[in-house]
Symmetry: C2
């Protein structure tokens, strides 16, 4: 979807809404049991991680929680990331759990500026799943790895009894190499940064939801599952000083932008009318009652760059097939630190908060 | 359990049994559906990996499938490994799924000679599991990581609906640094090598099985779950030229020795009477009808070293608390390449083959 913003927009009118009395609407701290929302990539996921895992593991890293950890090991600067994939159905328009498991981890590595190099593959199979299904998924993983330029070098296979899994769960972890001079992280966004998205949002989530619910919207909506390593390298070649990158998967663009706002302590203002929403996504979202800002993507990125770099960043993204529809959707401000607001097309302002739980469970 | 072999045994009498007509007793190639045995770490697991995953991923590495992949990246020589943990019950005498998930991957890294450095942690939680259970497991992971000298640096949390998991599944992947000059791999074993095990076998598997079946054997049998990085570094300091290392987990000592025999094309003769089996394990195995050679361990290693290095290797292992009961259990021979046989205490010979499927499902 092409947008009409070919240049960086003028700073929007900023009269922030009164947010002083806003607070989390639900009491979440005392969940005695895990609920689906804990896996949604929103507030509840963050609570589980921050209150339970991080203290046990020895605290959060000083530079915040990115999509990858970046560390120096044996003289190399490495990015290291992991994700488990529990998407259902296993096959959907535009992809499968197999290519998702490769692209998802490749993209997490790429968001630290790394060149993805190798992946691991660990599967948990449910007793009774057809071996032909496992074979198709393995083939999709191999094909996706070759397309992304990475090798799957180590793996593991476990089987659980029927009724204790859901066909196939896949974990991939990955290692990438961060080139010298690259320093990308959610904490590096700052007031004045321009927010860019690489293309139309919401395709992956709507594709899964349509398939799962047996809905049709006139045209088949295909997932945007794609490896973003090449797009990121093209962007970094033009703008080595990119501040922050995210691939907006679970929780969608809203979650990614909120995480960067929170980690950096900057406010973000999105221009709602500038966010590229493909017509089929807009149509499906209106039927399903979803907000496209919260719907998962698997082949898009959001970039925070200093304003003087914005034109070069846009040009570099648009010159790549996976970034042809890149566009500016907002900017960072000094007001309301850590909070994201959207200017609506009618001139109003609304808070775009981190989702609580999940709109669409088991999307990836 | 101390053994009585303080020196390397003389070569055993080798008149190999007639094995020319031996073949796999069950037709396995045409499983249309996954069965529990595909996750047992034996013949069926190998078939799934070799016939299905490896062709899709682009073939096996030239140096065989070790517990870790070893690769050069950015000038560093890295070991990279992954395992998913689906053990039940989640807590058992001597440990939990949490410390198992740390020790298991730390040990896989250590078996390539690497110093384990960092881990990822990805959990798949089942809706409804108590958050306090998740908290105890996270704490066990953090404690185990500190004990092993590794950091958990990146993670992921997914939730699946009740009835599609089993409380908690954990994947860990890990990266270690392989010191210069170390070249350890299953393909490097050769005739004349001595086979050493670091201590009494079978404790982990028997601990899990006893707990699961509600059996008692007079004394509580605790898992041997432990991190082996320090033990391996002590061994390598004494004998840098160790040929092959494995931690005999799923499939036990029999599977580990078979994998090394197959990868190296050497024959292996084990002295059954020399294999250290703690009395409580022997007792439990006789009640449960298990062969201790096939029972999982989580804190033991098997080492293949050249005969001139055997005394130094034994001394180094025995000087470490986790290797105090190290002992020689066999040797590599030129006969029956790729096959493992055991000399029984009565002077007979039996084939110790790779297990087909699982004796004990979901042991790790």
């Amino acid at each position: 979807m092409a947008d009409t913003l070919s240049t960086v927009p003028a700073p929007p009118d900023l009269s922030p809404p009164d947010l002083s009395s806003w607070s989390c609407p639900l009491p979440l701290r005392d969940h005695p049991r895990v609920v689906m929302g804990h896996g949604g990539g929103g507030v509840m996921s963050a609570e589980l991680i921050e209150n339970l895992f991080l203290p046990a593991f020895g605290g959060a890293p000083a530079d915040g929680l990115g999509d990858s950890a970046v560390l120096d090991l044996g003289g190399a600067r490495l990015a290291f990331s992991t994700d488990s994939y529990v998407v259902r159905p296993l096959f959907f328009p535009g992809g499968s759990i197999g290519d998702l498991a490769v692209n998802g981890t490749v993209n997490d590595l790429a968001m630290s500026g790394a060149r993805p190099a190798v992946l691991s593959c660990a599967v948990i199979l449910e007793e009774g799943v057809e071996t032909a299904v496992v074979g198709r998924i393995a083939q999709a993983m191999g094909d996706a790895a070759r397309a992304a330029g990475v090798r799957i070098v180590t793996g593991d296979t476990k089987v659980v009894e029927s009724g204790h899994g859901d066909g196939v769960y896949i974990n991939t972890a990955g290692i990438g190499l961060v080139p010298p001079g690259i320093d990308i992280g959610p904490h590096r966004a700052r007031p004045g940064d321009v927010v860019i998205v690489s293309g139309g949002i919401g395709l992956h989530g709507v594709a899964i939801m349509s398939m799962r619910e047996g809905l049709e919207f006139g045209v088949e909506i295909a997932s945007d599952s794609a490896p973003l390593g090449g797009l990121v390298q093209a962007l970094l070649a033009a703008v080595p000083g990119v501040h922050a990158l995210r691939d907006p998967t679970r929780g969608g663009l809203a979650a990614s932008v909120n995480e960067i706002a929170a980690a950096s302590g900057t406010g973000v203002v999105l221009q709602e009318g500038a966010v590229p929403v493909p017509p089929e996504v807009a149509n499906a979202c209106s039927v399903l009652g979803l907000d496209p800002l919260y719907v998962a993507n698997e082949g898009k990125l959001v970039a925070f760059v200093a304003r003087p770099d914005a034109e070069a960043a846009l040009a570099a993204l648009r010159a790549h097939p996976l970034g042809a529809d890149a566009t500016v959707i907002g900017e960072c401000v000094g007001e309301h630190p850590g909070m994201v607001v959207a200017r609506t097309t009618f001139g109003g302002t609304r808070v775009v908060d981190l989702p609580l739980g999940e709109q669409l469970p088991r999307i990836c």
